[in-house]
Symmetry: C2
Subunit: 389 residues, 2 copies
């Protein structure tokens, strides 16, 4: 690991780990959660809002920034930190995930992927070298190798794709010119333990400063995801941070921490908020529901977030009914506060050696949203998204 980065394991509780990852823009206390700022903003929030929420790292999407405002402009600003005014740690993905999801607009080969912009149809090509150059222009603290994220249960596809992902990881490492960015490799292998192990071993040999687990929470069941982590985690290097991409729900985060995962990113808290979905310790509620019309209580009694300290459910519902932008912001503040306080409590529980009890207590109270319903919602969302493209 370069002088710019260091990983300190501070405590363990079962497989759960308490640690710190130091980056050029600050220390990230792990386990932690990265809010997603796709287009150089965590939707509806300022960098000050994020600081006040206690966010220690945010994620931005290379695909989106590459297309708009463009990496040349970001380079002119000395990087994304200056452009968006967030001086804490940033992680960028490689852009691969977004490009591959443009099903009808991309053509993948062993050297890279050619695609058309969802904004103006213009043609572009991502290779390991291109995405590293783009991420160097963006200047995030943590950058990701280009990988392919295959359908997790299609063994033949997963096995073939794994070779490509590995070759690309090595090429990304080779292409990197900046030492002040930590390049993370991404372990793939779908739900197949032998492929996952093979991937972890290949990438471990590259001795990268951190490792992500990709290709989960992309359509498999919760049981398949947890079983995959059970088998995979012992193969992951113990002396590097471990990042589970695109996860997730409070319950998935707790299950993954219990298996040794250190950090997470997900659009869920902010996207859900913009649809009126709000986290409470009893489970999710939807503020559009008529039952909240005259409800003078905050979203959750005892919550210390700005929204709960100042506004009622009835007022929030009114803002959503009246399509007022302030509602989206207040809901986003609450949900991110919920996730970030959850991570704070997770760290404290690990440090005190009662993480298992904390997890049991949390899950006993928290009503998990119906999986079938959630799956339907995801499909509906994907369909809408593709229609928009």
């Amino acid at each position: 690991m370069s002088d710019y980065f260091s990983f300190h394991l501070e405590n363990r509780d079962g497989e759960a780990r308490l640690s710190r990852f130091s980056t050029p823009h600050g220390v990230i206390h792990l386990p932690n959660f990265a809010p997603v700022g796709t287009q150089a903003t965590v939707k509806t929030l300022t960098p000050d809002d994020l600081r006040q929420l206690g966010a220690e790292i945010i994620l931005a999407n290379t695909y989106h920034l590459y297309l708009r405002p463009g990496t040349d402009l970001l380079a002119k600003f000395g990087g994304l930190h200056n452009f968006m005014g967030w001086q804490g740690p940033i992680l960028t993905d490689s852009g691969g995930f977004q490009v591959f999801s443009l099903t009808h607009r991309r053509d993948i080969d062993d050297d890279g992927v050619t695609f058309r912009s969802h904004i103006d149809g213009s043609k572009h090509r991502f290779t390991p070298e291109v995405v590293i150059a783009a991420q160097e222009a963006i200047g995030a603290d943590i950058i990701m190798a280009l990988d392919e994220c295959p359908p997790p249960t299609d063994r033949d596809y997963v096995a073939r794709s794994l070779q490509r992902t590995h070759a690309w990881a090595a090429r990304c490492q080779e292409a990197q010119t900046r030492s002040d960015q930590a390049l993370f490799g991404i372990v793939q292998g779908g739900i197949f333990p032998d492929l996952r192990r093979q991937s972890a071993e290949f990438l471990t040999a590259l001795d990268l400063p951190g490792y992500a687990i990709g290709g989960l929470s992309v359509g498999e069941t919760k049981e398949q995801m947890y079983a995959t982590l059970d088998k995979l985690m012992p193969s992951m290097p113990a002396d590097k941070p471990r990042y589970l991409m695109g996860v997730g729900t409070p319950e998935d985060v707790l299950e993954a921490v219990a298996r040794g995962v250190d950090f997470f990113d997900c659009v869920l808290p902010t996207r859900m908020a913009r649809n009126g979905g709000l986290f409470t310790h009893e489970g999710r509620l939807n503020i559009r529901n008529a039952v909240y019309k005259e409800d003078l209580r905050p979203i959750e009694e005892g919550c210390t977030c700005y929204t709960c300290q100042n506004f009622s459910r009835a007022y929030l519902r009114h803002l959503f009914q009246a399509k007022e932008i302030l509602g989206l912001r207040l809901a986003s503040l609450h949900n991110l506060h919920f996730m970030l306080r959850l991570m704070e409590n997770v760290r404290e529980a690990i440090d005190r050696g009662h993480f298992a009890q904390f997890k049991t207590d949390f899950l006993a109270r928290y009503r998990i949203s119906n999986q079938t319903k959630r799956h339907e919602n995801r499909l509906a969302y994907e369909t809408r998204r593709k229609e928009k493209e």
Copy 2:
């Protein structure tokens, strides 16, 4: 004036007045400007944002609040202050202006006006008694009499309508039951000096705690508006605050202050912001313009607003291009800061006795937006709004 309110004239500079109006929720230093919070929120902003901007009073719309969330709900909260979390002074209009603008959905008579909701088509009736009861439930510090706002250049209509407006003002005064709300009368009379004087005299006789000037900035030219104020202002009571409704632009505010107006409200700063229009001391700019694509400067050098202290024109333009909600918020913060600092500077200039020079200097630098273009924009906006109804 009841014990809850007091008006102190502190200084004069020509016709311009420096004064203070005390209300149950705080003192308003005049001349001042009220941001508009139509639906119980100044769009995109929290009450904390407004406090930090130095806003001393905001306006809310009775028509909108009456329909949604409903005045019963507001009464249950003990009024709008508690519902929206703004504990400073609030002014509500009577709702008449909005109802009369529903051209094809309302039926006016001498007793009041029957109309259909733009939300669900439901039928309602506003009379002087109904709008006072609604405003008492909302609980604003300053409430407005029901008036009719006729086409300002149609003398016959204006003259007939004036009798109705005067009768309604007397009925509003009669209907009022709370002494902790200041009922303002609204002087009408279009662009006709004799009708304006007649209106001012009638309403002055009611000895209300404050007076508004309605029916301006509704289609007449700037020259007609200034000429109307020239003739009208000497007839307005000197010992009461004078409020010019729905105005306006920086240049109109300065011209009106020079003629003795004390306060203003207008959606312009926030609505313009949401369309990418930003105030500078050189005039307006539109941040969507390609010329700002790589502009590392703030909206205006030297501006102390949150947006200018933290973000570049290029970043703001990116947010607007990417349809990111944060852009609307940052633009709204800047424009309200601009208007509220302008009012602060106006007060200081009056106090020091060089308001005329201040006004001349400001207008020499400030490029006024083309009137024809603005008129077209207004018509386009009205058309869109009516189509939405």
